[in-house]
Amino acid sequence: MRTEGRPARRRKRRGKRAAYLVLLYAAAVLTAVIVLAPFAWLLISSVASPVDLLARPLKWIPSHISFDRYTSIFHAGTNDAAADFRSGMINSAIIASSSVAISMAVGIFGAYAFARIDFRFRRTSLLFFLSTYMLPPIAILIPLYLTMVRLHLLDTKIGLIVVYCSFITPFVLWILSGHFRTIPRDLEDAARIDGASRLGALFRVTLPLARSGLLATALFGFLLAWDEFLYALIFTSSAQAKTIPVAIAEFQGRFTVDFGLVAAGGILAAIPPLLIAFAFQRYIVSGLSSGAVKG
């Protein structure tokens, strides 16, 4: 009896293990499909002919593929929506990278203070910075608009950069201070015993060690700025400052006939953030979670 029971039990366990693996891979495939299918459809829509897109029953695989919509975006005249779209990409790139650069430059010092200096109200003041995130943009939108008119900053890239820094900086403080805290204090203390000043130790010891955290923070800030919509919608109106989300929203309004063109625009606008996320997934995720968990 006993000698028969053992292989049976082992077989049963092996059966259980196989069922688990089947379930696991099925779940992985299902997840990949749910995530990728909408992207795939957007991509197909951007290269399929309008006839295929409007067919019923719908043809999932287009009969022929054309990149005309992409070329039309790049070769369009200077005063139509496609031109707005092109300048929108450039404006978004300039505004996002400038606001990240400024936010990082000021935030590094603040994050260092939160991570390394014990002062009264340390936690409270970090929360104070983070509380700005709870404000609905509408609470500052109207007076900010009027101020910008007075300072001639309306519809300028600089105006938008200034506003973006105000919401990126709190994130820099939060994520980066969490990151600085993961770096051993002893290394810095050693440098300071050797005669380095506090700032010298920050720049020569802590920052080089925090490279991955700095990268994660900067990329996260870039994604935040690239995604912002409401401020840009209210504060910009012409090609000299309009960002890509605003250009796309208007694009959608104008080209209701051919959705393929909107899809092509959407794909182009999505490429920079998607590439960043795909390539630096590890950095961004670990940076975010170390800030979130240890901050």
Binding site: F39, Y112, A269
Partner: protein, 291 residues
């Protein structure tokens, strides 16, 4: 040499200027405006209403309808994101071939700009040419094409679908980070004690994920309560105001109807709602971290 507080203040001054230099004056000005009957963007003399705009807010059925919709959106989307996020995190933490690729794929919806996400789903939900209608008809799930964004309550739920698709990855990755900090020995100890996989999850894993879960609840609740972009691009608050969130309602009052005084009062009421939520969650966070 200045003391610790002095050094800290010195290091914080640039951040203080960049953040509060922008925010403080407009915030005060909005508060001031909320006490007046301002109906144009230009400076001038407007009648003082005291708390009139606030009274008007709380007695307005349209305001409460928008609050109800926003609360529904916030609760349903946040809980779905959390639930699916936990399942996804468990999947991404399991060992299988292609896990690295799957992780890189799963982050993509989160990186997609909200505006592009909105137009993509609006196209998928299109009543005449949409992929969802085509898919469900070809699978014989539905017999006729439907107008997914055409009736108020259905539209609200479809916007939630688009939002959950985009934001679940972030929840999943924060939870995954939490999962990875749980020592393997704990799972093994649970197994030795005879706990199965399911019981082990509820007894061992879930309690240790509580800090990550609370952070997701706080962040997502705040975000969802402020929801504007995806509604602007997918439905413009329609049909029949069925998807008009509180932030969108305030935007319409201030910018379309030029009711700046009323819009300002609304902005403060929204901020107070969010603050209330945040304080409740933060109390929870503190008790959790006290362990």
């Amino acid at each position: 040499m200045p003391g610790a507080a002095g050094t800290a203040l010195l290091l914080l001054i640039p951040s203080l200027i960049v953040v509060f230099g922008i925010v403080v004056y407009p915030l005060g000005r909005t508060l001031y405006t909320s006490f007046f009957d301002v109906n144009s963007p230009f400076p001038g003399h407007y009648p003082f209403l005291g708390l009139g705009n606030y009274r008007r807010t709380f007695t307005n059925p349209a305001f409460w309808a928008a609050i109800r919709r926003t609360a529904y959106f916030t609760m349903v989307s946040t809980w779905f994101e959390l639930l699916l996020g936990i399942l996804l995190a468990l999947l991404l933490n399991a060992r299988f071939h292609g896990r690295g690729i799957l992780r890189a794929i799963v982050i993509l919806p989160w990186a997609l700009p909200t505006i592009v996400n909105g137009l993509m789903w609006r196209w998928i939900f299109n009543p005449e040419y949409g992929a969802l209608n085509a898919l469900l008809t070809q699978l014989h799930v539905i017999s006729n094409y439907r107008s997914w964004l055409g009736s108020p309550f259905l539209a609200l739920n479809m916007v939630i679908v688009a939002d959950v698709w985009k934001t679940t990855p972030l929840a999943a990755f924060l939870l995954l980070a939490g999962l990875q900090t749980i020592p393997r020995e704990l799972h093994e100890a649970a197994r030795v004690d005879g706990a199965g996989a399911v019981l082990g999850f509820f007894r061992v894993t879930l309690p240790l994920l509580v800090p990550s879960i609370l952070i997701i609840l706080v962040v997502r609740t705040i975000e969802a309560f402020k929801v504007f972009d995806i509604i602007y691009i997918m439905t413009r608050g329609g049909p029949a105001n069925g998807t008009q969130s509180i932030a969108y309602y305030a935007y319409i009052q201030a910018f379309s109807n030029q009711l700046f005084g009323y819009g300002s009062a609304l902005a403060y009421v929204i901020a107070l709602f969010i603050l209330g939520f945040a304080l409740i969650y933060m109390r929870l966070l503190r008790t959790e971290f006290a362990y």
